[in-house]
Amino acid sequence: MKDISTIIFRLTLTCLVAALIMGGSFIVTNRAKQHNQQVNEQKVMLSLLGYSAAKPAPASLALHPVYRYLVTEQDVQTLGYLVPVAGGATDAFALVTIALDGKFVARHDLRLAPEKAEQAKERLQAVQTAVGSGKTIQYADQTIIVTDNGQRQAYLLPGEFPGFKTFVKVILALDPGFTVLGLEIMEHEEDPGLGGEIVQDYFKNQFRGKPYEALKKLGVVKEPLPDEYRGALEAGKTGRLGPEEVARIQEQYKDHDIYALTGATISSRSVTNGVKGIVKKFAYRIAFLDRVLAEQRIVVPF
């Protein structure tokens, strides 16, 4: 009997000590970990817009997140856009609900500190309170509108779509006319060396500069990538071609379909279709949102 109690006592003691050590290191490292994630995302977004350590973003550049929610009341669904309100407190937000056919429904003002707005749970709670009970809220996605001195410069769209294996997470940058500024693959589980090559410059940079009209009917063609096009795509890394040369070649290929990766046609198709879907849906939605914001004279910083 004494044996068992010793065993239990020692085991419990060991567990407690272990838990203390782990809990301690968690508290110390958690904030650094989250900070790292945010810094990483910021860096990726800025590089998509063309800024880097060598060419830093101007101080007048601002990123405005717009969050989209799905509001269900009994059987009726509406879209809720959480937008920052300009000209006043930094914590002023408005939830603008728009019906499925694009007509304005309601506007709910709410206050939310910007740091809290970045946390999904806090944001959801604030939105739920603003909208009232009896309605279910579901988070859909987010868009970041980039302005320079108040003028729209670009849209940043984080998105996710099925790839060859599981999901591919991307961030897409569009200019105000919906031409692609850049594509960055954030997460994927494709085969290394085959589908995994979607992260390489010579694939993802093919999307750069594609105008909206070409994007709507973009396909994938199983032909070898022309050498001069490849040179232009990788110019950022190799630095072999000057910027005018790169621009000329890109202009030449801008309406062309995407050249598939060798041995990874399905991955190439998935990424192309995924990007197509994200851009088409976004273009459709932002038109309605802008119209409602103008009609209702909701002043936003973008």
């Binding site: 799905l70 694009g102 399905i266 849906k281 459709y284 939605r285």
Partner: protein
Amino acid sequence: MHRLTMLMRALAVLTLALLLPVLAQADGLIAGKSFGNDREIVVTFKAPVDQAVFADPAHYLVYEESDPDIRLELADVRLDSTGKIAFLGFKEPLNTTRPHVVSMIDLPAAVTGRTVETFRVAKPYLGYLLSILVSALLINNFVFTKYLGLCVFFGTSKRRDTAKGMGVTFTIVMVVSALMSWFFYQFVMKPHGLDFLQIVVFIGLVSLTVQAVDTILRKVNPALFNAFGVYLVLVIANCVIIAVPLIMANNEYNFLETFMLALGAGGGFLLALYMMASVRERMELARVPKSFKGVPIAFIVAGQFALAFLGFSGLSLF
């Protein structure tokens, strides 16, 4: 063998339980609905329907469940010769991994008493579960595709009996500990934000399961214990046993999905072990260079198996 029949029976009951809701038909107009090829939705009606109304795309409103404001464009709607099956063709390929909602509007009231009929089209859930099973078993086989559990793999794949014993023991411990990990994760760790304790808790549950199986087996079936007991200790040293709960937590699987994953993982391991043992038994009679005898040549054979399993990559059954 007795255990195998029990397992098969349990699986049959489970399948029936999952099929029942599908068999219980929706009342009203619709007898069945599914995705056709990647640009089609196929709707089966209970009785032949009016060509003029149901072959007109203007009466259909289709969207993905998560994007109700984006209406998917219909290219055409064809009815077959019996008038009972409608093929809805779309201009763009559908994303069949997401459930879609089809709404039939402006229906003449005489048909069903309602002017709007809405229903959901999605890939069958059972298919999804089985695809997790097949994925863990073949496509993402833990030994040959994910390269986990190799230490134990090379140790116990010398003889076919050893392989069978290790495989079966492992599957049982895998399923039990995966389910227990799921309970812990859902009801203890997630609500209290104790995610960082994942590793410790999961490996603790595995040790507990091994201990429990050890004790139970000793008492209930000593003969079985003599056959399999020795492998129980090796189960803990297997990387796969902690990989499965980690995957479950990462993907937020529910109970059934975890069960399928664990079953597939264990089954895949058993398969890998058995095949490897069969080959190694024959290799002992082959003329292998002295420096390669034993483990090195086993690695090369395993490499060839992995090459073969690469062929399953991208297999999509459901």
